[in-house]
Symmetry: C2
Subunit: 202 residues, 2 copies
């Protein structure tokens, strides 16, 4: 759907998510989250006013693009979307390298961000936790044991679920967790996707 | 220098840039820029209070990580650092694919962000322009003709230089523009770098 011309009117980058709020359109999930939190005056802890606390959230949001986000997406594609949905096998050494990178990113998530805190950027839940948990659901959906050998991260996941509420937490991840049951994509879609997803094979 | 233990005290991610402000340490250039603009109450245009104008800046800052930033860094490494400083040849088809990606990113920078505006996110200079120009100096330093065939982008570059001031603009890019004259790295540094930079060969 996001390769249609109608969608390009909302987001010329032709990527999801995208927001349309009246005449105003906006791409990029992080920008959208910050826009919504400001527009609806979300409670301070989501994106704190305090100079240093906010900088910690910005630091996470910035780091994750080329680290956790990048490798969670590639794990999902290499382990699930290419072989199952696209019918395109992935070289085992490529997948192995991506999984090793995921492991390094998870270690950094624990050691540099979570540490001994309740949430990734401090004692309260922030948009950083939302961005992180939604990324982590991609390798989980592809069958990776992200939390099983990482008790600190598993406890954090429980705290995020409790803070968000069990129902909303499930609803937010419903689609991604069902990806393994999706039917193979048809030839037309495969042709459209071909070029744009090849970079995810690296 | 950023692989030393002393630097890891400031930034456990062992990456530059990093900021140390009293006891407070912070990584990630975007987070550092926003921190400094808030701490020193920079004029509004750098990161506007207006809801939609700020969202435009956030959108750019978010987009560039996996787009312009990622390919500018890879161009610099594949065209200059690997072959010249590291003495490691880069497969021509790898470099060609990266240069094609740079071209697509530049096109998006013009079509989706700059459009017919004076600056990337609107009529005034913002942190988005600073982040963009510093990234673009990497392929420029590696000998790419980034602005030559793109008059709209070249005019924007002139406006950024004028807004920042010629001297500061030059000073900010002095090191990166001298990269081609740096001596080959010695064996110890090469060994330290080896693993961390291999991803830039993709």
């Amino acid at each position: 759907q996001h390769y249609t011309d109608a969608f390009a009117q909302v987001n010329p980058l032709r990527k999801v998510p995208a927001l349309k709020d009246g005449d105003f359109t906006l791409a990029e999930s992080v920008a959208i989250l910050l826009y919504l939190s400001r527009k609806y005056k979300a409670p301070d802890h989501w994106y704190p006013q305090d100079l240093q606390a906010r900088a910690r959230v910005d630091e996470y949001l910035s780091w994750q693009h080329t680290a956790l986000r990048s490798c969670c997406t590639r794990v999902m594609w290499q382990k699930l979307m290419f072989p199952v949905a696209m019918g395109q096998p992935v070289p085992p050494e490529t997948l192995a390298a991506t999984l090793a990178e995921l492991d390094r990113c998870l270690q950094m998530l624990e050691d540099k961000f979570l540490q001994d805190q309740a949430f990734l950027t401090g004692p309260h839940i922030s948009v950083a936790d939302l961005v992180a948990i939604t990324e982590l659901m991609h390798p989980v959906s592809a069958g990776c044991q992200v939390f099983e050998s990482r008790p600190r991260l598993a406890a954090w996941r429980q705290r995020v679920e409790a803070a968000v509420g069990k129902d909303l937490f499930q609803e937010a991840h419903e689609v991604v967790l069902k990806a393994k049951d999706m039917p193979p994509v048809d030839a037309t879609v495969k042709e459209k996707l071909k070029h744009s997803v090849q970079a995810l094979l690296k």
